[in-house]
């Protein structure tokens, strides 16, 4: 707060409340305490019964009636709460104690004018909660767009705080909320608000309202952990608290968790009239393109409170996303009639548009928000973030700086500005259609591969889709995963590898993760594919379809790229844990279990594969165009492939059974399969001998024998496991183990064969590439070894030794283009012996006939090491031999 103040022991409001309590008989006090306890514990029916009995016994006792109104309101029985409160004020005309409670129930039903009158009577009558009534009046004005007047009224609460010797917990909550509103003009007041909420909570630990508002404040500032702790603390005491359940649902959505929908539905079970919960549920439904259901949810919300600005904003978003222009303008008119300065209408639209990947629209909408309200810091933040997503880096930064000046507590804005500072250390490399933005330390290396790969992807995808996204496409490659995460969601902790905003692609560098842990080349291809899908569909393609299509494109890009089938996927299918196509979006937006996201990627890719198989390559392209035209998934299936979605689900199910039936049968004993395709079994040997058709049993036995050094005995089991499930080539697939066994047994040819098959199915297995190259090189197949090492660079290009090996191999085979690339890669990795690296590059240039390049490189070598005899000889050779030789 602005000033500190002295405390006294009692507040006037407390005295008033105490007087009311003291005036009651001892039995009534006990009953009141019991009712209150039931309310706090979430035993709402019990609390209502107790408060009702008390109110009947002493209809003039405001504290009992207020408790009843409060409880009825908490569970959404607004009509009855209103009747109870109104009866009190009618029966007790000299008391103003229930006017504020009455006003609050009226506000929840959208009866603003009646509510305003009630609050005014509470203030005029000097009710014990008149300060809260004053706040409610100011909030009403704020929400009507009378911001200046409202802010003046909020400002007076600072005087209340500074001039009072003691305030009750409820009064402190009112002060805190008023100060929080003032934060829009002076961000430092957010700290004061937080402090006042803390004081309110300290003064009365039963004041859940103060704690809820703290949680909301944390969430508003993207402090998800603190918010969650706050809501958890309330729910620990009252697991039924509907607003705490809603708060927790919001934190789970903020953290990307899948429980948000279940939590908000629990909240609505307790209070079916909780409009913010209905609005939040609707926004969750929008994220999975369930617009009809979302609209129904908003209808329910507006039935309770027709003046809910938040509900109208989400309704506007639904209409906007559906392309319902008439409905949208009508909803906009309704919202702005209630509050002409309601910038949040556009902010909500912008946020939900961005969540549906409509970044250009988000920019346009956020621009309207800040045009409507120049203090809409959230609007500036949304504008800046989405400008960055479409590549408008300078404007994006400027708007984020505006947002930060107005509200430096916004973690997303701050993190992104920090990231932009980091980006200044990055270098830009241009290719024909791409602008690569890479950390200066890695730019020389990664641009050697990324540029060519991106151009290849563009050529092939443009030919396939008959569409060319506007160039240049910006590709940002981050060596720190946290930076990539901030670029994508504003905060650290995102699990993804890459993202495409359409004109901008961002991804992890291979250096961001442990060596060989992800196929960065395949990831880049995947994200560029999204750029095509988003562009073709005007960003209207649903998540499941673009992800499936992108994985499918990975598989078509190069041998072994893209996800492939795993035991876990098949077991999930067998156990009915995969989603039907009609619900596949949920697997991406709200996965029900951790593995479901990965399974959904692969499943979606199989859907695309099946559609192409049955309907030809153009079907997928036409589906994107149908989405562009605003069709729903159901409509797209019917219009493009003449199939009802339900029928396709059945068809897809048959396809899976046909394709993987044998493997599924072989996995019958796999109750729970981990990521390595293994399962614990009490008796491996007995299981293997008794179950020759059991993949897990055979694999486990083979591995067990191999671990014991009994390679020759392991081979039959591993061969059998491979035979049962030949499509699987994961980290611990039979291929890898067989290769190890055959190497142990000295059977290089078989080891090569296993590794070759493994890498053809799974090009992300870095170790397998290195092992295969080693065997091929030793066997004299240098061309083959070079090919394998070349493919390995798209998994992990940071091993200097591998680059040297590859450069030497391709020099032997005369592939000087590749030799030059690899020698440049060595240099980019900063070898200690720079002179030698330049000399080797000069040799490669000369081999390729580029004498000028060779001369430049050898001069660099000799500049570092003037006495370098080999380089001196090369310089003389270049200089003395006539150019035409």
């Amino acid at each position: 707060m602005k000033t500190t103040r002295a405390r006294s022991t009692l507040a006037l409001a407390c005295i008033a409340a105490l007087t009311a309590m003291v005036a009651q008989p001892a039995g009534a006090q006990n009953d009141l305490a019991a009712a209150r306890a039931a309310y706090l514990a979430g035993r709402y029916d019990d609390a209502i019964a107790r408060f009702s009995r008390l109110a009947e016994r002493q209809p003039e006792a405001a504290v009992s009636v207020r408790g009843l109104v409060q409880t009825l309101t908490e569970v959404g029985r607004y009509d009855r709460a209103t009747r109870v409160a109104r009866r009190f004020v009618e029966q007790n005309p000299t008391s103003s104690e229930l006017w504020n409670a009455l006003g609050e129930t009226l506000v929840l039903q959208g009866r603003r004018e009646d509510a305003e009158a009630a609050f005014a009577k509470a203030v005029a009558g000097g009710a014990s909660d008149s300060l809260t009534a004053r706040l409610n009046l100011a909030v009403l004005r704020y929400r009507q767009g009378d911001v200046a007047r409202a802010l003046r009224q909020f400002d007076s609460f600072i005087d209340v705080y500074n001039r009072s010797t003691e305030l009750t917990s409820t009064q402190l909550t009112a002060v805190a909320t008023a100060v929080r509103y003032l934060g829009v003009a002076d961000w430092q007041l957010y700290e004061d608000a937080l402090r006042a909420y803390d004081e309110a909570s300290a003064a009365d630990r039963d004041n859940f309202d103060a704690q809820l508002l703290v949680g909301d404040l944390f969430l508003e500032k993207y402090e998800g952990t603190e918010a969650r702790q706050t809501f958890d603390a309330i729910l620990a005491r009252n697991p039924q608290h509907p607003r705490a359940l809603l708060g927790l649902a919001r934190t789970r959505r903020f953290a990307g968790g899948s429980e948000a929908m279940a939590l908000v539905e629990r909240s609505l079970e307790v209070n079916p009239s909780l409009v913010p919960a209905r609005v939040f549920r609707a926004s969750l439904l929008i994220e999975v393109d369930a617009y009809d259901e979302a609209a129904q949810e908003i209808d329910r919300a507006l039935a309770v409170d027709p003046t809910s600005l938040e509900a109208l904003a989400v309704l506007g978003a639904i209409e906007f996303l559906r392309g319902d222009a008439e409905g949208f303008w009508e909803t906009r008119r309704r919202a702005l009639a209630l509050n002409p300065r309601f910038a949040e209408f556009y902010n909500t639209l912008a946020e939900l548009s961005a969540r549906n990947r409509l970044y250009h629209e988000a920019v346009r909408l956020a621009s309207q928000a800040v045009g409507m309200d120049s203090t809409s810091w959230r609007g500036f933040g949304l504008l800046g973030i989405n400008q960055l997503r479409i590549g408008s880096m300078r404007d994006g930064r400027a708007n984020l700086e505006t947002a930060f000046r107005g509200n430096p507590y916004d973690a997303w804005t701050k993190n992104t500005l920090d990231l932009l500072d980091t980006l200044e250390q990055y270098e830009e490399r241009a290719t024909r259609r791409f602008r690569l933005v890479i950390d200066a330390k890695e730019a020389d290396l990664l641009s050697l591969y990324a540029g060519e790969l991106a151009e290849d992807a563009y050529e092939r995808l443009a030919a396939r889709y008959d569409y060319s996204p506007p160039a240049p496409v910006r590709i940002e490659i981050y060596p720190h995963h946290a930076d990539f995460s901030v670029r994508t969601v504003g905060l650290v902790g995102l699990g993804a590898l890459g993202v495409s905003f359409g004109p901008v692609v961002a991804m992890d560098s291979p250096s961001a993760r442990p060596a060989g842990s992800f196929h960065w080349g395949s990831t880049l291809w995947h994200e560029i594919a999204h750029t095509f899908h988003l562009g073709m569909s005007n960003h209207k393609v649903p998540r499941w379809f673009t992800e499936g299509l992108a994985v499918f494109e990975e598989r078509r890009a190069r041998t072994g790229w893209g996800d492939n089938v795993t035991p876990g996927f098949l077991v999930a299918y067998r156990d009915g844990r995969l989603l039907p196509v009609s619900e596949l979006n949920n697997g991406f937006m709200r996965p029900a279990y951790p593995e479901q996201l990965g399974f959904s990627y692969y499943e979606a890719s199989l859907v695309c594969e099946l559609i192409e198989r049955d309907h030809g390559p153009d079907a997928l392209r036409r589906m994107l165009l149908a989405y562009r035209d605003g069709q729903s998934t159901d409509q797209v299936f019917r219009s493009v492939i003449a199939t009802r979605l339900d029928d396709f689900d059945d068809h897809f199910d048959r396809y899976l059974r046909e394709r993987f039936g044998d493997a599924i049968a072989a996995l019958r004993s796999a109750a729970s399969v981990d990521e390595h395709g293994t399962a614990s079994r009490p008796n491996i040997a007995r299981g293997a001998s008794g179950n020759p058709d059991d993949y897990v049993a055979q694999l486990s036995m083979g591995r067990s024998l191999l671990d014991q050094g009994r390679a020759s005995e392991a081979v039959p089991f591993l061969e059998r496991a491979k035979e049962l499930f030949p499509e699987y080539a994961g980290p611990a697939a039979p291929y890898w183990l067989l290769a190890a066994a055959y190497r142990t047994l000295g059977n290089t040819q078989r080891a090569v064969s296993e590794l070759r098959t493994l890498t053809e199915i799974n090009a992300g297995h870095y170790e397998a590439h290195l092992a295969l190259a080693e065997l091929l090189e030793a066997a004299g197949d240098h061309r083959g070894a070079a090919g394998v090492l070349d493919r390995a660079q798209y998994v992990y290009p940071l091993d200097m030794g591998v680059h040297r090996r590859l450069a030497a191999l391709v020099a032997e085979t005369g592939d000087w283009g590749l030799a030059i690339r690899e020698r440049r890669a060595v240099l980019a990795l900063g070898p200690v012996d720079q002179a030698d690296a330049w000399y080797q590059l000069a040799r490669a240039y000369l081999g390729g006939g580029d004498r000028a390049g060779a001369r430049r490189a050898v001069l660099r070598a000799l500049e570092i090491a003037p006495g370098f005899a080999d380089a001196q000889d090369l310089l003389l050779e270049l200089h003395d031999v006539p150019k035409n030789e």
Partner: protein
Amino acid sequence: MTRSLGIAALLLIALVLVPRAVAQTYLVVVGGIGGEPRYSRAFDEWCTTLVAAAGERLGVPQGQIVYLAAAPAGPPATDTSTKANVESVLTALAGRAEADASVFIVLVGHGSAVGGASRFHLPGPDITAQNFAALLDGFPTQQVVFVALSSASGGFVQALSGERRTIITATRSGFERNETVFPEYFVEAFAATGADTDKDERVSVLEAFNYARREVRRSYESNGQLLTEHALLDDNGDREGSTEPDAQAGDGAVASQLFLLGTPRVAAATVPGDSALVPLYEERTRLERAVAELRTRKERMTSEAYERELERLLLALARVSRAIREREGGPR
């Protein structure tokens, strides 16, 4: 005490027997106590590798190499690396080393810092930076290269820095207490190829330091770890080490001229009686200096002018070097 004196006497005999003409570089390697078998093995391996490289690869006479090991099991270890033995060896060497000799002292093992003062863990009492400071006072005219390849070794710089001293530590302070990988790469610089970045067929102390520094960074990066050790080099006596020494400025100039192999290239390459080589050597030296001088002017020149002049000088240098090699009978 008696045993220590005996060690010193043995060393004295060895030193006296070495011919004066090549008695310019001395190497004392001290292996610290490992504590665990894996550390003991690693320390001994690094020490023996360095000793072997110095003797067999770089030509330091065996009589000028001493290896004190925590648990000596015969050659090349000379004796146990107790504090008393370390003091005896260095004291004896101080009495016998030529005034212009180079003395390399290399510590491989665990270290720590108490109150900012670095110490090195030996069997029995540890030896501190202050102990070494007193011992190094015995080398007032010699070039001393003191290399502390232990954890928490940064404090050695401040304690030992001085004129004609090059101090290398594996860490930049006593607070970097984690196991270090710098020693592995520092030893590798002398034992393998790759550290001779100026291609003069010798590895200077600066080259070895830079090689190890870069490989340490690469090792941490490839393992996805944050760098927890930052090696220092100090050779200008200012009691402050540099993490990135530069031969052109600050620390690094002296270290760039110090070699474990103690023979300069010209002297080694001289063919007695071939007077025609003398002007060629002189011309080569002149051209090398011209290239070095040109590099200092690079920022002030246009790139075209710089490239042109660089190529002219390098071509001339290449021709002279080839002529020298031909007269010396080496490969063209």
